[in-house]
């Protein structure tokens, strides 16, 4: 048991730092990979399978916003007003997302319908 636990702790302390998940208001100063959670604002422009989808994310409860550019699969539930999480890096004021990391936050499986 002790050995198992040791392996586990070792791993989680080295590699298991995980991804900090932040709100737009607390994003400033983070240069590493983070997961950004927020509410999608209108307008959503561009092409997720081309030059990139552009939109702004706002704190779910708050006013701070940040522009996001995203490429890759867009989940079915994505649209303005929804809460999403996307992983990426902050690059000179724009949050550049890692392709394919956009997920909508309402756990679609168990919380049907949130409008």
């Amino acid at each position: 048991v002790a050995a198992v636990l040791a392996v586990f702790l070792l791993y989680s302390s080295i590699a298991g730092g995980g991804t900090p998940s932040l709100r737009p208001s607390s994003l400033a100063g983070h240069t590493g990979k983070v997961a950004l959670a927020g509410r999608v604002l209108r307008p959503v422009t561009g092409d997720a399978h081309g030059a990139g989808l552009h939109f702004r994310l706002r704190d779910v409860k708050g006013t701070a916003t940040v522009p996001v550019v995203y490429t890759g699969s867009v989940p079915d539930l994505f649209r303005p007003g929804r809460d999403v999480v996307v992983e990426g890096h902050l690059r000179s004021g724009v949050f550049v997302a890692i392709p394919g990391t956009l997920v909508t936050k309402c756990p679609s499986k168990y919380t049907p319908k949130k409008s």
Partner: protein, 662 residues
């Protein structure tokens, strides 16, 4: 009418409370009639819960939108079957279902398991009562499914992605599993309270645990199948917290099912079994809590949720209460025997248990990490797929290997010689399979290769067990092969049912390894007439067409699939858009090759104005083994569960018929 439902729940609450008070008093004072009346209260509570479920179902069927619950989860045009299954579509209904299943299980268990001894059952009743009190408290005071409001013209409706037969069956299966774990837990606590800490509680609850565990397993596979077909990202398991919520109690219950065999046989691991059953039950509560409390979004939204703190409090109470009990009964839980050798059946069971529990706890750590880090550092940190995949390999692969070793190795102590004799052929099979796979190019993924080599080993041991057993049977009875095989399984249902389940897990492992380690994915933007090559498939995009259905605009691409120069299929991946709900849903197209178990999985990711589509194609090898494994799992569980008169007689001899101590 909502009053009737509400009243029935209040009655249910009262009866559960009575079952607790009268049950404890009856058991403590050894008043048989009081204990019996507590038992009857539990049965009556089931009836009351059934009445209130009936009321809610009737309201759902009649689309009585004055029920807040009905208007929140159904609409007029929703098909009847979905109206009915909306019973577990929302939080309040799910809790009500929990209560119904709980009281049902509880009533059945105390009525059917009288053999466990009156004194034990007398203590089990109040424990079941406590759990029932908690859930009826929730539906009476905190999250009532019978809230009413001024009836709107139409209800909100059901999320389109939940309108799937898999989603109709998945939640009740999970609940039957989660709640079923209450029974072994209650018997374990009953055993501690009564001081009857022999194997009786385990014997009495073996089938209940198995049943709950089988439901949990099947429920998860249904969920995976749903995710695969409906969510449309090409996979079936994403280590999502709500998925993990069901996996953790299943792992704990798997460990428990194995370790009780050691206790039955050797009288060892008594404390460990008590802890495991507590872990399994707490995790099933935790699973309900995770999926229902909103804690996953953020610890902040959790404190706003109404049922979250209640659940957390109850989980703490359960853990603290059972640990205290175990601690106070420690002198009674001493092992009769000691572990003699690290190479023995007992030791293998122990390794299996440690690995299962370690896997379970690392998942728990991963699930709670965002919550813990937010509470501690004010910044929520999530762990992702790499974390879980790492531990699945680190603990899962050795587990796979143990599945081959465990059933064959001798009890007590295995000599080197007997080990060589037993494992010669499986070892040869593994080496041959490994060499063959490397030649076939499976070396591209080391974990995949290891998984397959181990699988060959396990498959060989299972086959060997069946062959040896059948031969022995033939030698004994002179029956023809098929008859001998049949009677072998029939006479040792538990053992061979177990092997069949092992075979199912093996198929699952092969399917998971195949579809995760050897899958291929390509995506491209295609104009009509253009094609995309994915491995040996050529996909030609022919065009788009849209049709209007009752409540959606259905856009479908036409894709011709060629392999080896000839057209083998035409597929139609597309999107539905629902104007009323303002929602789109991916409608993927899947072509299963039943011969190889491989899926061609097509997704239309984006439809562009100029008629081009952004298109993704995945090849998932062996993924169909997963669903086949579900069937084998079901068969194996059924064999192990099937009542066995011979076993009953054996047990009756061992434990005496009805102890007359009360």
């Amino acid at each position: 009418v909502p009053e009737l439902g509400r009243a029935a729940l209040v009655v249910c609450f009262g009866l559960a409370l009575y079952a607790v008070v009268a049950g404890f008093a009856g058991a403590y004072l050894r008043r048989r009639r009081l204990a019996l009346s507590a038992q009857n209260a539990l049965v009556a509570a089931f009836v009351a819960a059934a009445v209130s479920v009936g009321v809610l179902l009737a309201a759902l069927v009649r689309s009585d939108f004055s029920f807040t619950y009905v208007s929140s989860f159904t609409s007029r045009e929703l098909p009847l079957s979905y109206k009915l299954t909306a019973l577990w579509g929302g939080q309040e209904g799910s809790l009500l279902l929990w209560l119904l299943v709980l009281t049902g299980y509880g009533a059945a268990a105390v009525l059917l398991d009288r053999r466990a001894g009156r004194e034990l059952v007398a203590w089990v009743v109040p424990v079941l009562g406590i759990v029932a009190v908690f859930f009826s408290l929730l539906v009476v005071f905190v999250a009532s499914p019978f809230k009413t409001h001024v009836a709107p013209a139409d209800g909100v409706g059901l999320n389109s992605s939940l309108q799937s037969p898999y989603m109709q069956a998945h939640p009740p299966m999970l609940y039957l599993g989660y709640v079923g774990l209450t029974v072994p837990f209650a018997f374990a606590m009953g055993a501690l309270l009564s001081g009857r800490t022999d194997e009786r509680w385990i014997v009495a609850t073996r089938r209940w645990t198995l049943l709950a565990w089988a439901f949990l397993g099947i429920g998860q596979l249904l969920g995976a199948k749903w995710a695969y077909e409906e969510v449309g990202w090409g996979g079936y398991y994403a280590w999502d917290p709500v998925e993990n919520a069901a996996l953790m109690p299943w792992l704990a219950a798997t460990a428990f099912l194995h370790s009780v065999m050691v206790q039955e046989r050797k009288g060892m691991l008594k404390v460990w079994n008590m802890l495991l059953v507590t872990l399994a039950f707490s995790l099933s509560l935790f699973g309900t809590f995770l999926t229902r409390s909103g804690v996953l979004n953020s610890i902040h939204s959790f404190t706003e949720g109404s049922i979250g703190p209640w659940f957390l409090g109850f989980i703490c109470f359960v853990v603290a209460g059972s640990l205290t009990l175990v601690f106070r009964r420690l002198p009674l839980l001493r092992s009769k025997t000691k572990l003699e050798s690290l190479a023995s059946r007992e030791a293998t069971f122990l390794y299996n248990n440690l690995l299962l529990v370690a896997l379970c706890l690392t998942i728990l750590w991963g699930v709670t990490f965002p919550i813990l880090s937010e509470a501690v550092r004010g910044e929520s940190v999530t762990v992702g797929r790499p974390y879980y995949d790492f531990f699945l390999r680190a603990f899962g692969l050795p587990l796979l290997l143990l599945m081959g070793i465990g059933p064959l190795i001798a009890w007590r102590r295995a000599s080197l010689r007997s080990l060589g004799r037993t494992f010669l052929w499986p070892f040869v099979a593994a080496v041959v399979a490994g060499a063959g796979l490397i030649a076939a190019g499976a070396g591209s993924s080391i974990p995949g290769l290891v998984a397959y080599t181990f699988s060959a080993f396990v498959a060989a041991t299972i086959a060997l067990e069946f062959i040896r057993g059948t031969q022995a049977r033939r030698a004994l009875s002179g029956e023809p092969v098929v008859r001998a095989f049949g009677s072998l399984v029939a006479r040792n249902r538990r053992r061979y049912g177990g092997y069949i389940v092992h075979a199912a897990i093996l198929m699952l492992a092969i399917g998971v390894a195949g579809s995760s380690a050897y899958n291929t994915s390509r995506s491209a933007r295609l104009a009509p007439g253009q094609s995309l090559k994915v491995r040996d498939y050529t996909l030609v995009y022919r065009g788009l067409n849209s049709t209007r259905s009752e409540n959606a605009v259905e856009t479908r691409a036409t894709i011709d699939v060629y392999r080896g120069g000839s057209r083998i299929a035409t597929m139609h991946p597309g999107k539905n858009s629902y104007p009323v709900e303002q929602q789109v849903s991916n409608e993927v197209s899947i072509r299963s090759d039943l011969l190889t178990g491989e899926d061609l999985f097509l997704i239309t990711e984006q439809v562009n104005r100029n008629g081009t589509i952004d298109f993704k194609a995945l090849i998932n090898p062996l993924v169909n083994l997963l669903w086949a494994a579900g069937l084998v799992f079901l068969i194996g569980s059924a064999v192990a569960l099937w009542p066995d008169a011979r076993e009953e007689r054996r047990l009756a001899v061992r434990y005496g018929h009805l102890p007359q101590e009360v």
